[in-house]
Amino acid sequence: MAVAAETTPRWSRRHRLSWANVRRGSVPYVLLAPVVVALAAILGYPIYSLVRLSLQHYTLFELIAHKGQYVGLKNFGSVLHDQIFWHTLVRTIVFTVVNVGLTIVGGTAIALLLVKVSGWVRILLTSGLVLVWSMPQVVAVQVWNWMTNFQNGVVNYVLTELHVGNYYGHDFTQSTFSALGLVTTLIVWGALPFVAITLYAALSQVPGELVEAAEIDGARPWRVFLDVTLPILRPVLLILTSLSILWDFGVFTQPYLLIRQVHIHPSNYLMGIYLFEEGYLKSDYGRGAAISILMLLLVGALSFVYVRRMVRIGEAE
């Protein structure tokens, strides 16, 4: 929007409204129009519907009748008084912190490794990363399911053969910790390529002479990383971190398919699953809408913090 404001000629009394002026002035708006229309159609209208739905009593009966009943903020009240909501929120925050932390640390490590290794190793590593990236989530879940299947999973086999314990017939979704741990491995594995490749690109922005100078001054590699490399990577790291937070906070596909519906219960809910169970499975769509709006607000608050920091970094430069 800032761009449009700057390039639009300001109307003043002295300017006469000629057709040429109008045409020139409207160009930015015309260029923006498709984006605005697309956003309104694919984002604005659904959000409007969602808000409307969240204020209605809307169950299977209303779904068939195509008409809900307005109940004000009752759905929000019922969600906020639900203990399961608060437990799920805390669990999801911990889950997000762990997943994002592992993704960013692991991705950074791989990116740094990529810089140091020889050419053909780099090609090998990068192709591996791209392969991981191109694997559809549902396929990856299936592979994970096979590997950890209690009857003949290869992970169970290897752990047992390594004498870590007896994992024959062990069900990894048995406890909340191991179920979500399993989901974490899948999510981090799937998220690493994007982070690693992006950071690798960002690393090429680190001027060699700065690193060299620091080394000549006697800085150890760790110091060089903290004081030279990291500050330059910071904007990219910020983007990656906040994107990862957005993705991991609302994650649904991996936990739902990996833990499987029959093993899902309030003690291993994540926010996305809580929303699905309450709204969809119980056919209480109004309440489901209220939950998703609360999630939207939470994620919105996170993004706000991030956008503000980004803008500040931009101003500082």
Binding site: V22, T59, L60, L63, I64, Q151, D171, Q174, L281
Partner: protein
């Protein structure tokens, strides 16, 4: 101002174009095609019966085709909800008998009472199954088939262990299990009776066998009943049986892996489940597969089994209601039901009943509480969670039962 008006015009035109193309895409008429949702059981078990019904239907209605779309039990309701919202429901849908009440109460199905006379054997429908399709005195669901649960076992292993006859009581069965376990101690993760840890259909059979139940009504309200003395006795007996008989993980379920896979891999002496499990015990064991009725703790009686079943319904928004009912007529004809019976199912009418093992097992049966919100208890995995807790030993039987029972009370009353 002119600029703004120009912008407004462009936005309006673009939105109009989007709206026009969108609405053109949604209501594409599906001329002369009847859409039917059946569960995959039909696809794997009796595709010939489906084909015969389609052929009959097309013969009666030239120019019409039938599009049978196979669904999974796990997510067919979510898909159905989505079509109800969109108005593009199938014309016929198979529903589990435990799923019917919620949808009938919400008005999701068409009243097909007037077609009753056209359905074969409709005056002799199995009462339990017919009731699941009845709401407010009107018929919304046509009984399709029922299934009782029996024990499918390997005669070779039983002979080797020196067991001559099918057990007549739970105590005798337990003694047989010990002999089987000893005999097959060398087979890795061998279960004398493979049953999944959270197979609530099986566990609840013990509850009903000991005189307990999942829930009862009191003063017009539902009350969870798993914390009653009789229910706890049943759950305790189930836990002891499971610990002696099955190597399945405590949290496993009866769908994954299917018990007959464990059987066909040689890791089970027997499995408990629907009669049609005998279909898939593997070529290696086909000749040594036999079935008996799960015995009660009372000598000589069968243990009450879950009488599952399916109904066929016509969704209310369907534009082809009469045709839908007509397809159901073809699919539940006497010959179709007899074909289902031959595959190990229980046909939909008493006049067709035989003396097979699963039909004998149906003599004592239990059914889930006929409550509008029952399906929420199932989807919420309340029973499965309780069973896993009992097996893992985190909670005592009484504690786990009490917490599940409270939960069931609140869910069934629509809290």
């Amino acid at each position: 101002m002119k600029t703004r008006m120009l912008v407004a015009a462009i936005v309006a035109v673009s939105l109009g174009v989007v709206a026009a193309t969108a609405s053109a895409g949604v209501h594409r008429a599906q001329a002369n095609k009847l859409t039917v949702w059946l569960q995959v059981d039909a696809q794997s078990g009796w595709p010939d019966v489906v084909a015969a019904a389609n052929a009959q239907f097309q013969q009666d209605h030239p120019g019409w085709s039938v599009d049978v779309q196979y669904q999974n039990w796990g997510d067919h309701l979510q898909k159905f909800d989505a079509t109800l919202a969109g108005g593009n429901t199938p014309d016929v849908i198979e529903m589990g008998n435990t799923e019917m009440t919620k949808y009938m109460a919400a008005g999701a199905f068409a009243d097909i009472t007037s077609f009753k006379g056209s359905f074969a054997n409709s005056s002799n429908w199995l009462s339990g199954l017919a009731k699941s399709g009845l709401y407010g005195g009107k018929i919304y669901g046509v009984p399709y088939y029922a299934g009782s649960r029996v024990v499918t076992y390997r005669t070779d292993l039983w002979n080797k262990a020196g067991i001559k006859t099918a057990p007549k009581s739970l105590a005798q069965f337990t003694a047989d299990i010990h002999r089987l376990a000893v005999q097959n101690a060398k087979v890795k993760s061998f279960s004398p009776v493979y049953t999944a840890g959270t197979d609530w259909y099986f566990a609840m059979s013990f509850v009903y066998d000991f005189g307990g139940s999942i829930a009862r009504t009191h003063a017009g309200k539902w009350v969870g009943n798993l914390d009653s003395k009789a229910s706890i006795a049943g759950l305790t007996a189930w836990k002891n049986f499971y610990k002696a008989a099955s190597k399945a993980p405590s949290t496993s379920d009866e769908n994954n892996p299917p018990p007959y896979n464990v059987f066909s891999q040689g890791q089970a002496g027997s499995i408990v489940g629907p009669g049609w499990f005998s279909c898939c015990t593997g070529t290696k064991y086909k000749a040594v597969t036999a079935q008996f009725v799960m015995p009660s703790h009372v000598n000589g009686k069968p243990m009450p089994g879950f009488l599952g079943g399916s109904d066929l319904a016509v969704p209310a928004p369907s534009g082809n209601k009469a045709l839908g009912a007509d397809w159901i007529k073809d699919f539940t004809s006497t010959s179709a039901e007899k074909a289902l019976q031959a595959k190990g199912n229980i046909p939909n009418a008493t006049s067709l009943l035989g003396t097979s093992v699963n039909e004998r097992a149906a003599a004592r049966s239990w059914f889930v509480p006929a409550a509008k919100h029952w399906v929420d208890v199932e989807n919420g995995n309340i029973l499965r969670n309780m069973l896993a807790q009992i097996l893992i030993g985190k909670l005592s039987v009484a504690q786990a039962a009490a917490s599940a029972s409270d939960n069931i009370t609140s869910v069934l009353n629509g809290a």
